[in-house]
Amino acid sequence: MTRIDAKFADLRARGKKAFVAYVMAGDPDYATSLEIVKGLPGAGVDIIELGMPFTDPMADGTTIQLAGQRALAGGQTLDLTLKMATELRKTDQTTPIVMMGYYNPIFSRGVDRFLEQAKAAGIDGLIVVDLPPEEDTELCLPAQKAGLNFIRLATPTTDDARLPKVLTNTSGFVYYVSITGITGAAQAQAGDVAPEVARIKAKTDLPVIVGFGIKTPETAASIARVADGAVVGSAIVERIGRGDSPAQVLEFVRGLAEGAHSV
């Protein structure tokens, strides 16, 4: 049982939905970013998504693109992102950490070496946007073997014929992308999302978490009502980007978590 599995078992036992928060590692600099990350569990975050900055984030909107650029300009590296996880693990042994990003920095490091380092740093799962099931031998299968969850994205274009392929080899949870589009774009609609979540849940026992287009505590609540949890990324990153203090950012996160937990 991974930390992710344990977290969902605990949430289920308490009748609660999951609140997942995304931040870009190293944004705007290592120290500030670490302070925010360390504060996330206390603000009600159930699972932390730690963004790995990349020069060419093809599935991300402007907000997360700029966050990646700030982090890289601030000297963030893959080593420092792993170090952030190591630091968090000194004070928190239960909050799952999922690294999210693109494949090239991992491929460049070497898959085996990366998995060993991620495991040692206390990482629990990976979301790699540009690795569909067709490329499972690259990282998905080695990651599962190393004991890390490989969390897959399902999207509105994933039809019934394709869904089983997407669910095979997925572990931890399924991340349903609420819109066809990039991060930080259109507002997610619970009415559109509900049947899609039901469609996925009919085919898997894994929890289904919904992300993209969730910006407010109200939307977090409406989405959590129809799924196993909600992810917020761009709305948090935007506040970091405009220079809010870690305390202000965490206060905003607390509101979102309360929204998701209110149902």
Partner: protein
């Protein structure tokens, strides 16, 4: 060198879209179903005579194919070595080889019922070709172009707008071709249901590299029979040379000759200010290492942490930190040789072509020509070089004037 089909260099990619370790389908899940349906549609079209009949009709009557294979006699005499032929793809409608591929993709898009076409462009040649074919078929066309390129390729920007396309300047990154491709992918993922992404080079997720190569292969196929017509039945070129950014004109010339062991194949990358550790160049094969970007694994300019570096070249069309995956494979298996040429060398070749042959070349093929200048004098008179003159230089005269210190203000 292979002498049977089992060892052929022409069978790639495999069913996973791989050329050896290169290629693949590294895209987000949203795009994956569309990529698979595109592959199915292309596989169907490939063996459909009506598809090729439509292509051939348009190539002949709209593009002006076949493009001439021209014996450059003054250039040959000037170097006093190998016999130099130029494949005149700069004479195509829209002034470059790009339209060969665009026609194929737009016909496919129409078959798939897509009504909105998006494209990325560097030098603007692919954007102009896409805007042109969209105008011809009455399709909506949106072209993403790096803001830096919008500035240095102003004539092509105006051309696209005249043709009814919307040109969107891309300001992310350094505002060049790589960034334009990122934004085109973001558009595609957002408008996946009605939009067709018309990629301009032999890169991107499978099936694009193979599909674009197949459409561009008309270049090499024509060279085969044209050379035989001029030099005698069965005569093959001894060396074929083309410039490489993503590598579509080169793949189009090379592919039909891959299994002819006597043909020496040379790709010319943009060396910018020189291929050294300052990395002010676009020579992915000479100065990069394998990585994953824009849907495929290929050689990339990147730092130690896997972050992609910006390329540098005087030529907007070559200014890309990657290269088509089939080139990476041909490089690794040693079937083709890849060299680099600097901005300064390309400018010299540009001027020489104007003065000796009355042909104003684009800066992209000027790189290939600069390598011809290097090797032609060292080769015997019965050695035949065929170089792909893949684009004309009208779009580049402002850039060249600036570098030569000529004031264009009247």
């Amino acid at each position: 060198m292979p002498d049977d089909l089992i060892n052929s260099f022409m069978t790639g990619p495999d069913e996973n879209g791989r050329f050896g370790q290169f290629g693949g389908r590294f895209v987000s899940e949203t795009l994956m179903p569309l990529i698979l349906s595109l592959e199915a549609e292309y596989e169907k079209a490939k063996t459909d005579p009506t598809f090729w009949a439509e292509m051939e009709d348009l190539w002949k009557h709209y593009v002006g194919r076949p493009s001439p294979l021209y014996y450059a006699d003054r250039m040959t005499k000037h170097f006093g070595g190998a016999k130099i032929y130029l494949k005149r793809d700069e004479l195509n409608h829209t002034g470059a080889h790009k339209i060969n591929n665009v026609l194929g993709q737009i016909i496919l898009a129409r078959r798939m019922g897509k009504t909105r076409i998006i494209a990325e462009t560097g030098a603007g040649q692919h954007g102009v070709a896409t805007a042109t074919v969209c105008a011809k078929f009455g399709l909506k066309c949106i072209v993403y172009m790096g803001a830096h390129d919008v500035e240095r390729q102003a004539p092509n920007v105006f051309r696209m707008r005249l043709l009814g396309a919307e040109v969107i300047p891309v300001t992310s990154g350094r505002g060049t071709l790589k960034d334009a491709m990122n934004d085109a992918l973001r558009d595609w993922v957002t408008n996946v249901r009605d939009t067709f992404y018309c990629i301009g080079t032999v890169a991107g997720p499978h099936p694009y590299p193979a599909m674009v190569r197949d459409f561009q292969s008309i270049i090499g196929k024509e060279v085969r029979w044209q050379l035989a017509e001029q030099e005698g039945e069965g005569r093959l070129p001894d060396t074929i040379i083309a410039a490489i950014g993503g590598g579509s004109n080169a793949m189009g010339l090379f592919f039909p000759f891959l299994d002819d062991p006597s043909v020496n194949i040379i790709g010319v990358e943009a060396g910018g200010k020189g291929v050294d550790d300052r990395m002010e160049h676009c020579a992915s094969l000479t100065g990069g290492r394998p990585g994953v970007l824009h849907g495929n694994r290929t050689y990339l300019l990147q730092d130690n942490d896997g972050q992609i570096l910006e390329g540098f070249s005087i030529s907007a069309g070559l200014d890309y930190p990657g290269i088509g995956p089939e080139h990476s494979w041909l490089h690794d298996v040693g079937r083709a040789q890849y060299v680099s040429i600097t901005d300064v060398e390309a400018l010299e070749a540009f001027q020489l072509s104007c003065k000796l042959e009355g042909i104003i070349p684009a800066l992209e093929p000027s790189h290939a020509l600069a390598h011809v200048m290097k090797i032609a004098p060292t080769l015997p008179a019965d050695h035949i070089i065929v170089m792909n003159m893949c684009g004309r230089g009208d779009k580049d005269i402002f850039t060249v004037a600036k570098h030569l210190g000529f004031d264009m203000k009247i």
